[in-house]
């Protein structure tokens, strides 16, 4: 008795037996995407600006493409009051670095609470950018200006850094009554479209590219329009006091010409991810590296992964997961080598 042979087209096979599909490709020396083993998809970045779209707090923007996957990263600003203990000032030197607060969103046609993947990407990105020592903390200190209403009812904004020594700094100090210190914080909003494999490389690249074209606007304190002498009485359990309404509110100075570009301490830092799979080739198996995983079959089958973030010769972040195919020291050296030789458009 004979049965008709069932033939599965590659799309179906990749769903029902991804490992089989991958093996058959690899034996041919090709990957399902028809790339070579160590071939990366080109990473293309387009710097964008929102500057023409009126005032807003987006200070850096990049759109990045890797194969079919797109990511879009916008950097926005916030201002926080920094703590002020004497020891802290001693500590603050050139050696301190800042990070960003990323929110990664992967569009999948659904909304709701962030998925685990999004949370993990955001956290890893935050930690990696910090350990990269990319953004010197000193660059983020804020010296706010003051908007002053002059007698002819014209508004001018004065900045301490614009005034020479001859202007009496003392009277300026009086303006800053609270003597508080402020610092910018950077938020990164990253949106990913058409996910087709592990995303860390893409998201990392988009963030760095966006950070590269960040320029920090100046901020100033303005008269809130509320008379600081108006006090609101408050009573609480026998105590009695007043709250003044002179709350400090920062305004972003719209003038682009006085905004200062953020000088990053590194020129480039790129993350490369490799999958490690076991290749059964004529009864002998060897582990091979697959650069820049793409598609379900590759993602599913490479349980071992190597992720390298390097800046020139110096390594900044390495993650090796060895649950699947055996990752030997040779494999690691090999991956580092390929990552270093990676070319960029």
């Amino acid at each position: 008795m004979s049965y008709p042979q069932t033939v599965f087209p590659p799309q179906v096979l990749s769903r029902i037996a991804p490992d089989l599909l991958l093996q058959r490709h690899l034996v041919q020396g090709l990957r399902p995407s028809l790339r070579k083993f160590d071939e990366f998809r080109p990473l293309v970045s387009t710097p964008g600006t929102f500057n023409d779209v009126g005032t807003n707090s987006v200070v850096g923007l990049a759109t990045v493409r890797n194969g079919d996957a797109f990511a879009f990263c916008g950097i926005s600003l916030g201002v926080v009051e920094t703590s002020k203990s004497p020891e802290f000032f001693e500590e603050l030197n050139d050696e301190e670095y800042a990070s960003i607060y990323p929110v990664v969103e992967i569009s999948r046609g659904r909304s709701g609470a962030p998925t685990d993947e999004e949370m993990i990407l955001s956290q890893t990105l935050h930690d990696t950018i910090f350990h990269l020592k990319l953004i010197p903390l000193l660059l983020l200190s804020v010296t706010p200006g003051y908007q002053i209403l002059e007698e002819d009812s014209a508004l001018t904004i004065l900045y301490p850094q614009d005034m020479g020594d001859e202007v009496d700094q003392e009277s300026f100090q009086e303006l800053n009554i609270s003597k508080k210190n402020f610092r910018y914080i950077l938020y990164a909003h990253i949106k990913v479209f058409s996910r087709s494999g592990p995303l860390f490389d893409l998201v990392h690249y988009a963030t760095i590219e966006a950070l590269k074209n960040v320029s920090l606007p100046r901020v100033y304190l303005a008269d809130s329009g509320i008379d600081p002498n108006i006090r609101i009485p408050i009573r609480s359990r026998g105590n009695f006091g007043h709250l003044t309404q002179a709350e400090q509110r920062f305004y972003v100075d719209e003038r682009k010409d006085i905004a200062s570009p953020l000088k990053l301490s590194l020129d480039a830092a790129v993350s490369s991810t490799f999958g490690v799979v076991e290749l059964m080739d004529q009864d002998e198996s060897r582990s091979i590296l697959l650069a820049d995983l793409e598609g379900e079959a590759e993602e599913f089958c490479s349980e071992s992964r190597i992720n390298v973030t390097a800046s020139g010769e110096s390594l900044r972040h390495v993650t090796i997961i060895g649950g699947g195919a055996n990752v030997t020291l040779d494999t690691i050296q090999n991956a580092l080598q390929i990552a270093r030789e990676r070319k960029f458009a």
Binding site: P86, K179, R237, G241, L243
Partner: protein, 305 residues
């Protein structure tokens, strides 16, 4: 090991029959409480582990400087988090606030925060701008009944043991001093509330319980897991050693004789006195040991240095 909080019919009847005859499966008498074993960490302030029979939990108190609530500019903030993970028992699901969990956090909130056990006004640094936020995180390791009582003991011990760093003001600046620079300061605790839980069982049928005059309901103190699963109702009393009542909570369940409440409260008072003394003794012993280890006697007036 099964996930469900169920208990077999046989065990249920066994527990009940035992109680009818005045026996508990754990060998305790009806109004006998387990003796808590309280471990105060030797190296930190405000980290306490409590073993209450087989119920185990860890409490960590921490502090942080924050902006106060707009409408309460003179008051610090105090929060207690009581999330139960499946570590305590597989019957608790992760991230899902079960009714039990909500109840426990309510009882503790009422017993500790709303009774002003912690003086919130003493946590104010600059009115309307900077206050201390004190938080107590309760992590449950193992569940065998009596979570409310054990949590209250743990939280109150940890709060009394905790010390926050000293702060000095310099104009409008504040300087937070390290523990090595200046001796940290304890929190101001106004009184020590203690929770005592009674569980009620109905030895007769429902009709007899409501209509009859006999008042046969059985009340036991500090039920363990199997007793908690079988009980028909419960009462939480919160008291302090000044013989003050802070909370009485009996949310439905088995109707009991109103006058029995007085009797139960009396007995709870005795337990409360014992527990307060026990906690106090432990804290004093710890204080003494630290005093010796940190050589603080050298700071005394007239000490030979």
């Amino acid at each position: 090991m099964g996930k469900d909080a169920e208990i077999s019919l046989n065990e249920r009847n066994f527990v009940k029959e035992g109680l009818k005859n005045g026996f508990r499966l754990n060998g305790r008498s009806l109004d006998e409480m387990r003796r808590p074993i309280i471990n105060i960490d030797k190296n930190e302030y405000g980290f306490v582990e409590v073993e209450f029979g087989k119920t185990k939990l860890a409490v960590r108190v921490s502090c942080e400087i924050v902006k106060p609530y707009e409408d309460r500019p003179f008051e610090g903030i105090f929060t207690i988090s009581t999330e139960i993970s499946p570590m305590a028992s597989p019957m608790f699901e992760n991230g899902k606030n079960s009714d039990d969990e909500v109840l426990i956090s309510r009882f503790i909130e009422k017993a500790v925060s709303r009774s002003n056990a912690l003086d919130l006004e003493s946590l104010c640094i600059i009115a309307g701008e900077k206050v201390w936020h004190i938080r107590a995180d309760v992590n449950y390791l193992s569940y065998d009944g009596g979570l409310i009582d054990a949590t209250c003991i743990g939280v109150m011990t940890a709060l009394q043991h905790f010390k926050k760093p000293d702060v000095t003001m310099k104009g409008t600046d504040i300087i937070v001093h390290d523990f090595d620079q200046r001796q940290p300061v304890p929190l101001i605790i106004l009184h020590v509330p203690i929770c005592i839980t009674y569980s009620f069982f109905n030895p007769v049928d429902r009709e007899e319980n409501i209509k009859g005059d006999a008042n046969l309901e059985i009340a036991i103190m500090d039920a363990d897991r199997s007793e908690e699963l079988v009980r028909d109702g419960f009462l939480v009393l919160t008291l302090n050693k000044n013989r003050e009542l802070i909370q009485i909570s009996k949310n439905g369940g088995l109707p009991i004789d109103g006058l029995a409440l007085i009797e139960l409260t009396q007995r709870a008072h005795d337990r409360c006195q014992e527990l307060t003394e026990h906690i106090k003794a432990l804290l004093q012993a710890d204080e003494k040991e630290r005093y010796k280890n940190m050589n603080l006697h050298l700071l005394e007036v007239g000490a030979s240095r």
